[in-house]
């Protein structure tokens, strides 16, 4: 009895469909690690991604400098040429200045932290709009491992999800899977900061007690009770408060302290915090 190719093709389609469904299911949860193939692909492309990002920022600085020149009047055309040259040089200098500012802030920030932090450059962001993570150019080789806290001068950024030899994927606090223990500064009330799907730019702050004293303007800092984040790091500021129909349970909407759109350098807390 010969092999029925038409039937065989359908069997293959069903097998592939089941295999893909199983893969989606397995990878729909936070995995402890990633496959070797993914790690190689990421390590191989990270330097290219870093180079492209840096080149784009430089070109962006130069283009914006040239764009500004359009505001000058026609009468100043001769001077405009000189200004253009100066602007081009200025754009380059501004790039340096920005780097110096970032590094100075980084140094001061490192001193403030009083623990081992590792500066890392953001070399990429999620390729699709459905998830919230960034790719940084530090990995296992630099001492980074999954679960470590990632911060910036503005406050908490997120947590390392996976790490390859040279790169790490950081799940932002905006991600719907993120949950960070916090407290309201000055009120010492514990809260839980969670990413939300309905407005991913503004995480939700869940209060843990009835008749919470949460109010607009409150600053939320890390509680220091978790194994990941040391206490006192800024998470953000409450910009809105909603109550349940009975008025007993309140939730806040948080404006994160970090400007995620402008994130260029972050810091990984590579040393576990004592007593946390």
């Amino acid at each position: 009895m010969g092999w029925d190719f038409r039937r065989g093709r359908w069997v293959a389609v069903v097998v592939i469909f089941v295999a893909i469904t199983a893969t989606i299911y397995v990878t729909s949860y936070t995995r402890p690690g990633i496959t070797k193939f993914e790690a190689i692909l990421r390590d191989f492309t990270a330097p290219v991604a870093g180079g492209i990002t840096r080149a784009t920022r430089t070109v962006q600085d130069m283009v914006s400098a040239v764009w500004n020149l359009r505001n000058l009047t026609e009468a100043n055309r001769r001077l405009q040429t000189q200004v253009q040259n100066l602007q081009m040089r200025l754009a380059v200098l501004e790039g340096y200045e920005r780097q110096v500012r970032i590094l100075r802030r980084a140094l001061r920030f490192q001193e403030d932290q009083g623990q081992q932090v590792l500066a890392a450059e953001v070399v990429g962001r999620e390729p699709v709009s459905w998830h919230n993570y960034i790719l940084i150019n530090r990995g296992v080789k630099d001492g980074v491992s999954p679960g470590m806290a990632v911060v910036a001068p503005g406050g908490v950024v997120g947590q390392v999800r996976t790490a390859t030899t040279h790169t790490s994927e950081v799940m932002l606090l905006l991600d719907y899977r993120s949950a960070i223990g916090g407290r309201l500064q000055g009120k010492e009330e514990l809260v839980l900061v969670e990413g939300q799907t309905s407005d991913p730019d503004k995480p939700v702050v869940r209060t843990l007690v009835r008749d919470s004293g949460i109010s607009v303007g409150d600053v939320v800092v890390t509680s220091g009770l978790s194994q990941v984040f040391p206490g006192g790091l800024t998470i953000g500021t409450i910009v809105d408060v909603n109550s349940d129909p009975y008025g007993s349970k309140k939730t806040g909407i948080l404006q994160p302290g970090v400007d995620f759109a402008q994130l260029e350098v972050v810091f990984v807390l590579v040393q576990p915090t004592e007593g946390s």
Partner: protein
């Protein structure tokens, strides 16, 4: 040869989405993988369109790291649909491929959203439409024509190299 060339296109496209685009435009994000899949499907038919879609989806999924296979299955379906529909339409008008790219993006993003729902990520429909699907459809529609022209030129270049 075509497998390697498409693979490079898709890796390049995903890298652009991860680096250049978010640096220039923070909130709007294209889905170049779908645009390239449609370009291939319109040019080569449903079989290669589906294969290209699956390949591009796998590349995108590997970089994303979550829901591996979701991009592959949705883009493969879209590649097949665009390849099947393409010859039935008057492709000479440049607006037709652009409209197909926008419709294909709407289909791909909607399927992705449905699969996310099926696998436990409960994203409200209005949010998905307003924040992800709608903007991606618009950006992909705008990018479709230049991408199609570039893809044709690259295709001609690769054919010349291999002959």
């Amino acid at each position: 040869m075509w497998v390697a060339s498409y693979l490079l296109w898709f890796i390049g496209a995903v890298l652009l989405q991860m680096t250049v685009w978010p640096t220039l435009f923070q909130s709007l994000r294209p889905d170049l993988v779908t645009v390239i899949t449609v370009a291939v499907a319109l040019h080569k038919g449903p079989g290669k369109g589906a294969a290209a879609g699956a390949m591009g989806g796998v590349v995108s999924d590997l970089f994303t790291g979550y829901f591996l296979g979701m991009g592959a299955i949705t883009n493969a379906l879209v590649g097949f649909a665009a390849g099947w529909l393409g010859p039935k339409l008057f492709k000479e008008n440049f607006l037709v491929p652009v409209a197909i790219a926008a419709a294909a993006t709407l289909l791909q993003q909607s399927l992705y959203w449905l699969l996310l729902l099926a696998f436990g990520r409960n994203l409200p429909l209005l949010f998905a439409l307003e924040k992800v699907i709608g903007p991606t459809v618009i950006v992909n529609g705008l990018l479709a024509f230049p991408v199609f022209v570039l893809a044709q030129k690259l295709e001609a270049f690769v054919s010349e190299l291999s002959s």
